[in-house]
């Protein structure tokens, strides 16, 4: 029996629903940066006017708006969850900082830095001194440099100070933990629904999730993995929903979204590493034979074997970079469009920038799904290549 046309139509329905939902959220979000940023602008001018930090302030005022730094700051990880406001006036969720130093474990809250990111505020903890510079934590120098920062910088303006190992609950880690918790609650709840309504048709949230699960099973796992697909289903489903949900969460510009989790190379690296390890450890003799004794004339071996060996590693590396680049690019695009307002220093640009941003975020909704799908289907493909049994070679 072929039910695929039913799942297809339901899939379309669900996609449309999710799109509408997130469109709504994004619209709300579009409204926020506008007001936020105008407030920031007002704040900074206010600050500059009153405080009169002469040199710094005038320098800041004269400088054109540094879009690149602004965007990179927004897509990078941070040690606290910033809500609104700038500098001393910023409001955010302080997150725990966990450092493995030369003298053992040190923990304190990120609020201890008093929103300083220039290395000017030294935190004393466990008899050690730390500063935060560009969201990196360094051992503080004994004396401040000419800019008032407790770090020594080289010619490239990079800090030379030693760094403790930073295991802090950063914005990305926090977002990650939130999303993992939500995924656990949602899917264990769904599983409970299956137990409660055993043998019956799905209902409520269950019927929203089931087509997606069936999609992963029937369109991703089965065609690539063959009859041995069941063993890899938990990994494929987890990775699919993890990436999809985090992609979507990344599109929500306010708490608890907004973190660039799946657009962070560390996250995609771990995901790709999982695929790599599963592929490598489930590879059968045909897989290894194909790598070390490819079906080519023997004199081609010096060329083919290194190529095949490199191929083992390039596949997960491509997975890692694809997801990272796609999601990061989406975030950069969104921020660039919003930044148009600041580049032109004119709120009149907003009627052009905001609809564009809405349009791009709709595309990003699609990308969120497509990237999750591509990561999962390529993982399934690589694993499928490793476990494939061919008797003809």
């Amino acid at each position: 029996m072929d039910f695929s046309h039913i799942f297809n139509s339901r899939k379309i329905g669900i996609t449309a629903l999710v799109a509408v939902l997130f469109n709504f959220l994004t619209l709300l979000a579009q409204a926020n940066p506008e007001t936020d940023t105008t407030k920031i602008a007002a704040d900074t001018t206010h600050q500059e006017a009153t405080a009169g930090h002469e040199a710094a302030a005038t320098e800041k005022k004269d400088q054109p708006f540094d879009t690149g730094a602004f965007i990179l700051h927004h897509i990078a990880d941070a040690h606290d969850f910033h809500f609104w406001g700038e500098g001393e006036h910023s409001v955010g969720l302080p997150l725990p900082i966990i450092l493995w130093t030369d003298k053992g474990l040190v923990t304190f809250m990120s609020s201890a830095f008093h929103h300083d990111d220039e290395g000017k505020h030294v935190v004393d903890a466990n008899g050690q001194r730390f500063v935060k510079l560009h969201e990196k934590i360094y051992y503080a120098s004994a004396t401040p440099n000419e800019h008032g920062a407790y770090v020594e910088v080289n010619e490239k303006h990079e800090a030379k100070n030693a760094k403790p190992l930073d295991f802090s609950i950063t914005k990305n880690v926090f977002s990650l933990l939130v999303s993992v918790t939500i995924l656990l609650v949602v899917f264990i709840g769904v599983a409970r629904g299956y137990k409660k309504r055993a043998g019956q048709s799905p209902k409520g949230f269950q019927s929203l999730i089931e087509p997606v699960i069936l999609f992963v099973r029937d369109d991703i796992a089965k065609p690539n993995l063959g009859y041995k697909y069941e063993k890899f289903m938990p990994y494929l489903l987890s990775v699919f929903f993890f990436i999809w949900f985090n992609n979507l969460l990344g599109l929500v510009p306010f708490f608890p979204g907004g973190a660039n989790v799946t657009g962070n190379i560390a996250v995609t690296m771990v995901l790709a590493l999982c695929t790599f390890l599963i592929t490598t450890f489930s590879g059968n003799k045909y897989y290894w034979k194909h790598i070390f004794m490819p079906p080519v004339p023997w004199w081609m071996y010096p060329v083919m074997v290194p190529v095949e060996i490199v191929g083992i590693f390039t596949k997960p590396i491509a997975l890692m970079i694809r997801l990272f680049a796609n999601i990061t690019a989406g975030h950069i695009l969104m921020l660039s469009l919003i930044c148009l307002i600041f580049i032109f220093k004119n709120l009149a640009i907003a009627p052009i920038a905001v609809p564009f941003a809405v349009f791009i975020s709709l595309i990003e909704l699609l990308v969120a799904f497509i990237q999750a799908f591509i990561f999962t289907i390529l993982s399934a493909l690589f694993i499928g290549m490793a476990i494939e049994e061919h008797h003809d070679h």
Binding site: D77, A191, Y194, K195, M233, L237, S238, F242
Partner: protein, 163 residues
């Protein structure tokens, strides 16, 4: 460059969180969900198979019924035909025997009539002879009352007789 440099903290947390997610979801979500879906698909397949079988059984029964009905109809036709034949035979037999009987009766009646007629004729003849005799007697006696007449008669008779 910083963008493509993975930080150790996030790697550790992501590894922990993701492995935990895969483990917990695998154990508490995917396993029951997938087995439930499989079970349901199996039961749907079974139900469809059963429905198909029932349909086939139904068709088979219908066919059987039809065949039976056909057979019964044919048998009925045969019986009816036979009955008709029998009836025709009986009727024709009856007709034939009736005809024969009738013919016999008619024959008998004819014979009876003939015999009765003969008897009647014989009786009539006898009576006629008797009556004739009586009449002749009476006539003769009357005629012969007188002598003259007797003589006349004799002479007449004699005249008739030509010798």
């Amino acid at each position: 460059m910083e963008l493509v440099t993975p930080s150790i903290g996030l790697i550790v947390w992501q590894t922990l969180a993701f492995l935990l997610l895969v483990f917990l979801l695998g154990k508490f979500a995917w396993k029951p969900v997938l087995s439930a879906i499989k079970e349901r698909e199996r039961s749907i397949d079974d139900a469809l198979e059963a429905a198909k079988k029932a349909k086939e059984e139904m068709a088979r029964l219908t066919n059987e019924n039809e065949a039976l009905l056909k057979e019964a109809r044919a048998e009925r036709d045969v019986i009816l035909k036979e009955a008709k034949q029998l009836k025709d035979q009986i009727v024709s037999d009856a007709k034939a025997s009736a005809q024969a009987e009738g013919a016999k009766l008619i024959e008998k009646a004819k014979q009876e009539i003939d015999s009765q007629k003969a008897a009647a004729l014989a009786e009539v003849k006898n009576q006629v002879a008797e009556l004739s005799l009586q009449i002749a007697e009476k006539v003769l006696s009357k005629q012969l009352e007188d002598q003259k007449k007797q003589e006349a008669l004799v002479s007449d008779l004699l005249k008739e007789v030509k010798l």
